[in-house]
């Protein structure tokens, strides 16, 4: 399939990228991994007048901790996160998610920041970032940075709250209140498929007590769902069969699944319950 014609810019600096998008305004699209954007352009669901390919801008392919928080650059690929010892040690929900994103070729190219910008309701990373209290850092041509919680960044299916002229330069995960435990459970029809149901669980614990819980769902609503009441049911508590059951029930109630080719609404809601219960009961979650 041939995309419609577009003007192509391959800036070497962020300043050059801002110049390019200023010239085209809303008609410009940023191209990072391209694993969602290029299929959309090929199918002509999108036909941007200008594509600004940021892959040649140095300094965006990183993920590092600073002052206790984690910052992930706009060109950090899923592949890097999949192999990250930093994630393995400190961000279990992210480390569990990375190898479940699409397939190896997509992971070699696609980026976490781009995935969240794309705001596909089936995207796994947005749920993960919701569970972690994550944020997107948007920069404008004047160099002013705006920090937007992912809960406010994703405003609808395939819609984010970037303003014209802004570029999402990084994602940020704030410092944990205690030790992070957690996992990501994903049911898929076959390897590499979008989630039938995905459940992100992030617990920040001291000893056996949950200081802060993050639970978010993929594939069971018109957007990723943050399960606020289930999170509150765990805060300040220890994990036992009663608190786990209560959180799992509240999460299932928060889901808004629709019956489709991947399963009935009832089935998906049941899987949400099972995954929250399983995730909170797992050794990864409970080993304090």
């Amino acid at each position: 399939m041939y995309p419609s014609r577009f003007h192509y810019e391959a800036p070497r600096t962020l300043d050059e990228a801002f110049e390019a998008i200023q010239a085209y305004g809303d008609e410009a699209k940023i191209l990072a991994g391209g694993m969602s954007l290029i299929p959309l352009i090929k199918l002509r669901f999108a036909a941007p007048a200008c594509i600004v390919d940021i892959n040649n801008i140095p300094g965006l392919d990183y993920h590092e901790e600073e002052g206790g928080s984690l910052r992930i650059g706009a060109l950090c690929r899923h592949r890097t996160l999949e192999r990250s010892s930093l994630l393995r040690n400190n961000y279990p929900v992210m480390y569990a998610t990375a190898p479940l994103i699409a397939d190896p070729m997509v992971r070699n190219r696609g980026t976490l920041v781009g995935s969240i910008c794309h705001a596909d309701p089936q995207g796994d990373w947005a749920s993960v970032m919701l569970s972690l209290g994550g944020e997107i850092i948007a920069r404008n041509a004047e160099g002013r940075e705006r920090t937007i919680p992912v809960s406010e960044f994703v405003v609808g299916p395939f819609q984010n709250s970037l303003q014209t002229g802004e570029i999402a330069v990084a994602a940020r995960v704030p410092a944990a209140q205690g030790t992070r435990k957690g996992t990501y459970l994903k049911l898929e029809r076959r390897v590499g498929d979008f989630a039938t149901v995905g459940v992100a669980i992030n617990l920040e614990m001291s000893g056996g007590t949950v200081n802060r819980a993050g639970i978010a769902l993929t594939g069971v609503g018109s957007n990723n769902i943050k399960c606020t009441s289930a999170e509150q049911a765990l805060a300040g508590k220890s994990l036992n069969s009663s608190t786990i059951d209560q959180a799992a029930r509240l999460a299932a109630e928060a889901s808004e699944p629709k019956s489709d080719v991947r399963g009935s609404a009832e089935y998906k809601r049941h899987i949400v319950y099972t995954f929250v219960q399983r995730g909170l009961s797992s050794r990864e979650a409970r080993a304090a």
Partner: protein, 170 residues
């Protein structure tokens, strides 16, 4: 019509070509360079048939614009080995009957190369995860996995770096 000059090394040979930005890497390889070993299957980023190596990593050439390879290295199945000097992965696919219709084979072999570059001694499970993005419509996965394991053993026993495209030893 807008065109851009790109400088890309394909199978060890530097190329300097003007391309329209909307031309996909898969079309560039097949129609501009005549390297028809790269097949196009689903054309929707699902099947992995069009897989090539970009700077050594497998990528879906239907989901990259050719202009994005400016300054990079691309390896297609033609660069893996020649009929006179097959790469061990190609030998493995022959020895273990790792193909039926052959349509997915180039992508399978390039994905396999990346698996073995990173992990010379993979388990069967690791091979299967590594090939998770490559679909075989004949569903001949059993022998494909055997072929990769055959190649892994052969490469370990010979302990050497392999010639890509019979050109440069690295």
């Amino acid at each position: 019509m807008e065109e851009r000059r790109i400088n890309v090394v394909v199978n060890g040979e530097p190329k300097s070509v003007d391309v329209e930005p909307r031309i996909l890497l898969a079309h560039f390889l097949r129609e501009v360079l005549g390297l028809t070993g790269t097949h196009i299957g689903c054309d929707t980023t699902n099947c992995g048939v069009c897989t090539v190596l970009v700077d050594g990593l497998p990528m879906k050439s239907c989901t990259m614009f050719a202009v994005m390879t400016d300054g990079h290295e691309v390896t297609t199945v033609e660069g893996l080995g020649m009929p006179s000097e097959l790469h061990p992965i190609q030998q493995g696919f022959r020895e273990e009957h790792g193909l039926q219709c052959g349509f997915c084979t180039p992508g399978m072999m390039l994905a396999s190369k990346a698996i073995l570059d990173e992990n010379p001694n993979p388990t069967e499970e690791e091979v299967r995860w590594g090939l998770a993005g490559n679909l075989c419509r004949c569903t001949g996965y059993q022998n494909i996995v055997k072929a990769v394991l055959w190649a892994a053993e052969k490469m370990r026993s010979e302990g050497g770096a392999y010639v890509l495209g019979g050109r440069s030893r690295r």
